[in-house]
């Protein structure tokens, strides 16, 4: 469909100025610069980082924080907020607060694993396509074009019908579908670096394909890839939540924010905001990650509004 070499897809091409630096030194310098710019970060980035930190802590220590078991039925259905049940109980009499905490582990964890897998597949294929070029590049780029011609949610629903809904299939399906976006970015960014002299030198030196990809190209396209990781995570997270909300994502009795909204949505018509809390939890994390990505992009790519 669309031409893969369109400039806007490489939203933030690597800074060619420091592209020649050796990988390790470049990384250390980048880490130092990162720490320095963190001090001058706007409040929105700090807010985002704080939100992410809280979510990680909650997800890791879920069993310690939660007052009850993940799918333990502890009271009557739809109990109101009380001392025993801080946020009431859900449609089956499970503690909403507990489910919310375990949801951090399940929903965020699954989205994170999916994003990592998408980056391994898409990033790997993209860099390979950029480095090897020729027919491999053409073949992969065309395949990705076709895959991207089908809307992601629809494609995911079709594949979930075919392969059934379980967590591993969910992760693999979403990862493969989302890797197409990563492929585009990795390929476009990689293409800019492949033509540089130091890559040519490495090749002439007789380095293998793996070495060239890992040591010469990857470090130089890392900033846009990291920013993309944040954005892809948000996207995957929202997609999985939407699928769960539709009842075809993460299946019960696993605590998950999307399906929690769906199960308790009836309360909203009585003016109770409890069902909105898991949705708000999803929104808050996405906002946090977006704020951090926004700041990170601003810092690393010189993508300033004013020229």
């Amino acid at each position: 469909m669309s031409d893969p070499s369109r400039p806007y897809e490489a939203a933030s091409p690597p800074d060619s100025g420091n592209a020649g630096q050796p990988a390790a030194g470049g990384l250390r310098a980048a880490a130092g610069a990162f720490a320095k710019s963190l001090g001058a970060a706007p409040w929105s980035a700090w807010f985002g980082l704080a939100v992410i930190a809280v979510y990680v802590i909650v997800a890791v220590f879920a069993p310690l924080i939660a007052p009850y078991g993940e799918s333990e039925v502890v009271g009557a259905q739809f109990s109101p907020w009380s001392n025993a049940f801080p946020l009431g109980t859900d449609n089956l009499g499970r503690d909403t607060f507990t489910r919310l905490i375990y949801g951090a582990r399940n929903t965020v964890g699954i989205a994170f694993v999916t994003t990592c897998l998408a980056f391994i597949i898409g990033g790997g294929a993209g860099l390979l396509a950029a480095t090897v070029g020729r027919w491999l590049d053409q073949f992969l780029a065309r395949a990705v074009d076709v895959l991207m011609a089908i809307p992601q949610l629809i494609f995911a629903m079709l594949l979930l019908t075919i392969f059934g809904t379980s967590v591993p299939t969910l992760i693999v399906i979403i990862a493969v579908l989302d890797s197409t976006r990563v492929f585009r970015l990795a390929r476009a960014a990689g293409m800019n670096v492949v033509v540089m002299d130091f890559v040519e030198v490495a090749r002439l030196r007789g380095e293998g394909l793996g070495w060239v990809v890992r040591r010469e190209i990857l470090p130089n396209i890392l900033p846009p890839l990291i920013a993309e990781f944040g954005m892809r995570f948000c996207f995957v997270f929202l997609l999985i939540s939407s699928l769960s909300f539709l009842g075809i994502g993460i299946q019960p009795p696993t605590a998950d924010w999307g399906s929690m909204v769906r199960d308790n949505a009836i309360l909203i018509t009585y003016g109770d905001i409890t069902p909105l809390l898991p949705a708000a939890a999803i929104a808050l994390l996405t906002v946090g990650v977006n704020f951090v990505v926004d700041w990170f992009l601003h810092e690393t790519s010189g993508l300033h509004d004013e020229s």
């Binding site: 076709v146 089908i150 809307p151 629809i154 929104a283």
Partner: protein, 318 residues
Amino acid sequence: MGNILTLVLKRLALGVFVLWIVSLIIFLGVSMLPGDVATEILGRSALPETVAAFRRELGLDLPLHVRYLDWLSGLLSGDLGNSLANGRAISELMGERLGNTVFLAAVAACVAVPVSLMLGLLTALYRGSLFDRLTNLVTLTWMSFPEFFVAYILIMFLSVQLGWFPSLSTMRPGNGFGEALHLAALPALTLTLVVAAHMMRMTRAAIISVLASPYIEMARLKGATRYSLIVRHALPNALAPIINVVAVDLAYLIVGVVVVEVVFVYPGLGQLMVDSVQRRDVPVVQACSLIFAATYVMLNLIADILSILTNPRLLYPR
């Protein structure tokens, strides 16, 4: 002009080709299922003879390519097959729902496109101001919300507390236009809010990136006002990316429609698809995905062609 025509025809051919591949994926994907439709309907305990007879009746004993050609020619003549769940013709199931979905998406688009283009222009005009930064923050936040969150917030305030709109959109064929609009108001508003934020940000970014070019500097130096700088000098060159974004977001509407329809129990195509996925009603899911994909491909195609028309430089590929 002949140049443009060949280019458009080339894009059209490419679009048709992509659609064909999509149909292949949808068809072959389903035929990779461990069982097939016959075992799915009759259940595990069915006798092998019954299954064989049923397969023959459904034409499942024919080779794959014959079945594919059958399915494709059926599609092209408007026969989408029958639902597994209730045996009704899919085209009959879809008819009204397709209209409802198109109505919903059209209402949302009619509001979202002008509003977000205006806001994008205004924020580009007053960039750096408090208004710009506030809009930036609000839209970034808004974009991070899942559709169902936006939908339930709207239900909470506009339906439960204020009682302006119904929280369930029970569309019926007999509804007049005004009534249908009232019923579709909340789902349409949800969709609008979801796409408008993105569209507005991209419009702003497109204009600002054009503002960096030297000819804008020239216009500024010769004393053009801020307004004419943006509207007369920057906008025409930013049109191609803006059209692209509008089309992509309209295509996104098609997908966003699925979640929103479920929230409001709006009788559209998305709702039908979700129900069918839960029931594993494969033919209906196939048909729905094909329609969604075709719309998506078509919108992207239109975007491509329009951006070529607005930007003559694209006529000469590098």
